[in-house]
């Protein structure tokens, strides 16, 4: 099964309308709306427990939303199963456990290509520059969970890209990386945008967010607190307050 043909240029790639998610009585997301154009880059920030990972889970069909719609190139994909969403072109990365542990780097990539329907030389050709850039190319035979953590993380991002996405949702790509390794995330994002991918990036590293994202939204307790360019948004008093006041351990695992 080949992914559907690319969206018409100029049409929004991903559109989220009034999205809501409740676990029992607990409101995790409420009235979330935003849109991503092709090649667009949107940062999502917020304190622990703000619902950032849940947002990705809901968009990718891992958890069903309690309300609202998700549109991809005008097509309603709300509530579709994860694999279907992925094959339509919305692929995510994970904070942790982002590779097939026991498999070699080569097997990891080949699985990503095969599962997304893109096995074959073209697929490898698409991924090869990233493998080179991250220094994974010489380590194709190594078992992925024996790699240094930073490389595992980059392999995870590469896998998501290998699945031939139109929209990439990155869940804290820089978390756990050494400061010196974080520029690789920039590199990755630049590369995929150059290929026409839209990117949504959930991140705690404010420097990275400032560097990369022309536009960000701030989530707090499941609602959009602010939206706009990072410099402007991060200076707002309520945003600062949300961060300072949110010290108590939240349930980020959601």
């Amino acid at each position: 099964m080949e992914p559907a043909a690319g969206a018409v240029a100029g049409v929004e790639e991903l559109r989220v309308e009034n999205l809501a998610k409740r676990f029992g009585g607990l409101r995790v997301l409420e009235g979330i709306s935003f849109a991503l154009a092709p090649g667009d880059l949107l940062g999502v920030i917020g304190p622990n427990g703000a619902g950032k990972t849940t947002l990705i889970n809901v968009i990718t069909g891992r958890t069903p939303p309690s309300g609202g719609r998700i549109l991809l190139g005008g097509q309603d994909i709300t509530g579709r199963p994860t694999h279907a969403v992925s094959r339509l072109g919305v692929v995510r990365s994970f904070q942790q456990t982002n590779t097939f542990k026991a498999a070699s780097v080569r097997e990891n990539v080949s699985r990503a290509l095969r599962f997304s329907g893109g096995a074959g030389p073209q697929g490898w050709a698409r991924v090869a520059p990233l493998l080179d850039a991250f220094g994974l190319a010489p380590r194709l035979g190594e078992q992925s969970d024996k790699l240094p953590y930073g490389l595992q993380k980059m392999l995870g991002l590469t896998l998501a890209y290998a699945a031939n996405p139109k929209v990439l949702l990155l869940d804290e790509p820089a978390a756990g990386l050494e400061r010196s390794e974080r520029t690789r995330v920039d590199e990755f994002v630049r590369h995929v945008r150059a290929c026409g991918c839209s990117v949504l990036i959930v991140e705690h590293d404010m420097d990275l967010v400032r560097r990369l994202c022309p536009r960000i939204i701030v989530l707090d307790a499941g609602v959009v607190l602010a939206e706009g360019p990072p410099a402007e948004v991060l200076a707002r008093q309520d945003v600062i307050a949300a961060y300072v006041g949110a010290d108590a351990a939240g349930d980020e695992a959601a």
């Binding site: 498999a103 097997e107 095969r114 078992q143």
Partner: protein, 336 residues
Amino acid sequence: MEARSPSRWGAQEWAAVAMFLAVLAVPWATDDLLVQSIVNRVLIGAMAALSVFIMLRMDLLSFATPAFMALGGYAAVLLTMHGVTEVLLIVPASFLVPALVALPLGALVLRLRGVYFVLVTFVLTEILQLVLFMTPRLTGGADGLAGFPAPTLLGTELSDARSVLALAAAMALLAAVITAALTAHFRQHFAAIEENEVLAESLGLVVWRYKAMGFVVAAGIAGMAGFSLGNMLLTVHPTSFGAQQAVDTIVYAIIGGRGSILGPIAGASLLVTVSDFLGNQGQYAQGLFGLLLILVTLVARGGIAGAVAALARRLRAPRAAAGPAAAAPEAARGGA
């Protein structure tokens, strides 16, 4: 469906099939009843453990094997009682009936993750016992079914000890071929589900399809084991299909090694034989199984098969030649 994967049979798949081929000769090689009896029970235990193994390939622990064994066993026996004794019909039936039941059942229970799946399969086995007790007209209830006609192969009756064992070996061979074909063909898919199901799904793998396929085939293989057991005992009886048997088959698969198709075969061979030799101390078999289970989990995650493979690799590759990365990945695969 995916493009045909390049997964080919490895040495282990061929070895498993070769072993059962060799066992086919046992009925003619010896008249020793004890050997025949042990071999027969090993074959049945190995088949049941192969069923567990298939599910373990996807990191699913199933306590429902005895339930599917019962379905296959009762289905085949009921056929013979209604005049269908041809093995070329009843063996497929013993595979198909549990497989067909597993299909809708799988749609329900495979939605459950990890431990919930484990608990539900446990409950399924309990439910099956009750269903057997409550359907005495069909299944003989608490008495089970006995006194059914011997199976026939193209008109020849397979009732003597030799043909019973030969039939068991043939069915085990078939089970090994099916298991090898399935797990080798979908090696990458199963491994991906085992190692990181969430990632596999988010990369576009239709996980439920492979799980359902595995579940259905595992049920079918268990069903064949159930018929083989019924054919050996000349009876199908509810006590043969309880929680105890579920634990035993899991123990065979885990101690033998869940990383290779040879594992369940090794586990069944060793443990069935050991419990037989414990003789009148049979009560200690369970304790021994428990200790082995703890031991294997702590120190030899690949079980017997994994340990043997690691040893062979170490012997084959002299210390100097063994790069750190060369041997590690395969060895670790056994556990994980």
